[in-house]
């Protein structure tokens, strides 16, 4: 049977609409929808698996077959969603979170792919940056995200591993999960400042949201210029801080990836499966369970990435996708596959 656009709908499900990364997810989906000329449905999970699943089920009930990108609230949501999509005759790509033992290849073609940026290398980026900035000596505190999120767990693992392997002089003082919440990041930072005072030389956060809170806390304690920060996501705000060298270049390391890239890659992969241009079951493992390149950003090289934040960047990226396909687009080509290997 041939692919008829009017039978299909693009669906992008995001965790909330109050976080720059999620906003960017939506941007990408919009660009993709414009490109493919297929209408788009956005699902806002409001940070609740319950809302996420019920909303997605509702969209599926809306008749058209879904080409879906889901940024899952919790790993455990994936199977339910994938099942539902399958029943609706659609195709879905899951980003970031899924049960470790739940594999597209075992499930079937409708679970086109699971995709993410390797959390471990994100953690390692941060660890390297801080370790070098501190000259291999000093104490750091960690602000993981939601405790039971795979994303957070892998990034933490990466950070700890890198420190353990290459920076024996660095001591991890404490670790306070801050639920991706800037407020909580700030609060925990304040408490940690009291607890360790000037023993803190570096702060690593699992994402920029929490880092933004933490930096404010250190600034208020007028410690900002004595401490080095590294995190993940290079939010526009963070970028601005790097540009301006806030706090004697307090930010020493970041990773670059953009929400719009994730969503458009995800949607495009599902689209290829939907149109039959790509038969998932015939793909190699790394194209079903993909790890995409994550670039380490430093105050030196951040300029290379400015272009990806220009207004037309999502559109440009989608163009590129159409030419080179979902697995070879700059700056996030495929970097590996299968389950992410946790360092021991």
């Amino acid at each position: 049977d041939t692919f008829k656009k009017e039978d299909w709908v693009l669906v992008a499900s995001v965790i909330n609409t109050t976080n720059p990364y999620m906003i960017s997810n939506i941007e990408g989906a919009k660009a993709m929808s414009a490109k493919l000329g297929i209408p788009l449905e956005i699902v806002n999970s409001n940070n609740s698996s319950q809302t996420e699943i019920s909303s997605i089920l509702a969209v599926l009930a809306s008749g058209k077959k879904p080409i879906m990108f889901v940024n899952t609230v919790a790993s455990s949501d994936a199977p339910t969603i994938v099942d539902a999509v399958g029943k609706a005759g659609g195709f879905v790509t899951i980003w970031w979170n899924k049960p470790a033992d739940y594999h597209p290849v075992d499930v079937g073609n409708h679970f086109v792919a699971f995709q993410k940026h390797p959390g471990v290398s994100s953690g390692r980026c941060g660890a390297k940056a801080i370790g070098d900035a501190l000259g291999g000596k000093g104490g750091v505190v960690m602000l993981p995200g939601v405790q039971d999120s795979t994303t957070s767990q892998t990034r933490v693992a990466g950070f700890e591993a890198e420190i353990k392997e290459n920076y024996p002089g660095i001591k991890i003082l404490d670790s306070r999960p801050s639920n991706w919440d800037p407020q909580l990041g700030a609060k925990n930072a304040r408490d940690l400042i009291v607890k360790f005072g000037s023993d803190i030389n570096g702060v690593w956060a699992a994402d920029d949201g929490m880092q933004i809170g933490a930096m404010q806390a250190f600034e208020n304690a007028s410690l900002l210029d004595k401490v080095k920060f590294a995190s993940d996501g290079l939010y526009p705000t963070t970028l601005a801080d790097i540009k301006s060298g806030r706090g004697k270049n307090a930010i020493v390391g970041e990773t670059f990836h953009r929400g719009y890239m994730a969503s458009s890659v995800g949607l495009y992969t599902a689209y290829l499966a939907a149109t039959g241009q790509m038969d998932p079951s015939k793909q190699p493992l790394e194209k079903r369970e993909s790890l995409f390149k994550l670039s380490c950003v430093t105050p030196e090289n951040y300029k290379d990435y400015l272009k990806y934040d220009e207004a037309d960047a999502p559109a440009k990226f989608v163009e590129q996708l159409e030419k080179v396909g979902p697995w070879a687009a700059e700056p996030m080509p495929l970097s590996g596959g299968g389950a992410e290997v946790m360092p021991k």
Partner: protein, 323 residues
Amino acid sequence: MQLVLPKEWKGPAALIASIVVLAIVFTFLNPRFGSVENFRNILFQVAVPLIIIVGTTFVIQLGSIDLSVQGVMGAAGMAWILLSANTRLETDYGIWAWFIAIGIGVALGLLAGALHSLVKVPSFVVTLGTWYIGLGIGIILYGDDMLPSLKSNVLMAWPTKLTLGLPNAFWLALVILAAGALLSRFTHFGRGVLAIGNSETIARNTGMPVNLMKIIAFTLAGGLSALAGILATMQLGAGSPDLGSGQLFTVIPAAVIGGTALNGGEGGIMRSAVGVLLLIILNNGLVLAGVNPSYQSGVFGAILIAAIVAVARPDRGILKIAK
């Protein structure tokens, strides 16, 4: 019947009316809203809150409140999956998994009920405490190990499987609901709860086992939250300490919308159930109507208020007091 509970049936009329109105509007905005799939999908979703609300209603009828729902769900859900055939552990205690998981809920409910009624501490704080404790148990069980998923496809498929055209999850909820309604209308416990909510002093003066009844109510609520946790875990096919998130602010508003006054002595399980239906349909409809996500919360809030105003209208006298 009538003689004993004349009010019981007034409110729901207005409620059901406003549900119908919503349904019509939504179907108009998107015909698919009325589709069989969506109907089943809604039934599938109401199952969990419906189970919870039976306990919630008893507790609220006492004039107390139970915040622990989500914590208990997390604890019970994690316990259950780790004791059933799952991908993390080799264990499979079969039926015992159920007993233990529900046992956790019962225990937490018992704790809350006992402290509340015997030590006379406000239920709001005690159950907030048991909420955190439940969450804590869930998190500890979760550890930082991989997330456990169900092995048995039978279990995973059960909730969605259709019996007589309706998903099993919904049938389960229906049974609990019916049992709850009977308990509420035809037992000393059920009537006693209302009497206590109406005037605890008098209830005591007439020698009612007030404390016992309170404890029963909270224990029941705990057990049902646990059951809901298990069902939710089945629906997901995987365990998570915060799989209850969002439930508290579904069931309590639902009960209130259903006319179960938070200061006790009012309302009924069936009415609360209709309240749940209203909220879920509202959510589902907004999505189907394709409301821009940035506007969703706003619109949801507005409609919620509109709905409650509509529902409140019928029984509103000069002397009526809304808390």
